[in-house]
Symmetry: C2
Subunit: 253 residues, 2 copies
Amino acid sequence: MFEQIKITRIDLREGRQELLDQVVIEIPFTIILNNHELSTLLCSPDKLKELAIGHLVSESFISSKADLKSVDLNEKTNVIRIETNTPIEKDELDKKRIITSGCGRGQTFYNYQDFTGCKPIISSGTDAFSVGTILKLMAEFQKKSVVFRETGGVHSAALGQGDKIVAFAEDIGRHNAVDKIVGEVILKGEETKDKFLLLSGRVSSEILIKAARLGVPLIVSRSAPTNMAVKLAKELNITLMGFARGQKINVYS
Amino acid sequence: MFEQIKITRIDLREGRQELLDQVVIEIPFTIILNNHELSTLLCSPDKLKELAIGHLVSESFISSKADLKSVDLNEKTNVIRIETNTPIEKDELDKKRIITSGCGRGQTFYNYQDFTGCKPIISSGTDAFSVGTILKLMAEFQKKSVVFRETGGVHSAALGQGDKIVAFAEDIGRHNAVDKIVGEVILKGEETKDKFLLLSGRVSSEILIKAARLGVPLIVSRSAPTNMAVKLAKELNITLMGFARGQKINVYS
């Protein structure tokens, strides 16, 4: 469920330290229903059979064990093949297909650079940020979230530039909060090379890809990243920082 | 972004109290792209134009403002109509269609009872749970999450029965953790009327619907629910509790 990776921890009082840290594993998991590729979920590599069955119940394809003819999980490829006793119309399968947002899925999931909009970030010289400023903006970012303070029910995302927060959004969904920032940048037609993304929530591969599309060279979260987000950040030349709290921050890539 | 509702707060030391509390608002928001119903997002009612544009960027339909011919947001119906300068092939639109998991979407979103698998829970007489036991199991539930303690990167879900946790799952996704529990129950062919769902994460309408399909009469979360989850819980006769921490718990329905 998790793996050890090398990270750099920066503490404004105690300096910089290389250490081993645990990050949670994220895998693409493909469900094939009656020989039809139904969906690829991004998930933790645990209880995959249960996840696939639960997903089919949630999507109304099955409602009990009696609906299942066979369930065959390949633990090497993370692909599960499920057959139902009653055929499901192709229309129904197509309608319910879940597409993971992002650049690709399934077999091609690790080849992000081949896909439009996910090219590695090239440093522009204007994209240097001091850890002191980042942590100061993270503290300001947290104070901005009025809705969270009132309800505890939302995530927030923001753009930092220089020593200011220049865009801010909240939403009940982590992904939506980032999409609101992306939309604001597009509508304003702004450059993003000199800006960085601040996040309250966890950084999965989908969030990383949204940030890559946005074109920011740096992502800073108050929470944890997944191992896939760290791999992608390295591949796409994005600096990924997490657990930005108080005087401390972890650098994952 | 949030609304006031009446809740009951139970404190094991101080007793029961009726009070007004803030819950975050969740709405269905429909994006129509080139006269094609693309997706219905469940989101906070704020920066909807930015959200729609950001969503189109994330789904690779557009990459800059120049791709947009018109953007028309109807704030009464929460429907946005977007036209692009270059036509998008119908195949591409169909492939990328996002279906919200759950019983329905768009116009029909509030009529859950009409949909298979989301009938109101009927009390069986075996589904009475004491707040003391619920809070005790919530404390145990939290201790069980080894991965969270190691990485801070996952959500967990569990089933409580009597004074025991009888199923437990973790995942990087809130929805996946619940689906793993649903799958486990289906594979074991178990009754759920005498069990309740424990959650680490926020309760949105999608989570509520998964629980309704599972057939549990009670959902307990350590975090906040959305207003739509509260409405649905009332409609489906499910008891929804949140902020279960230490000796206190909020009862939303």
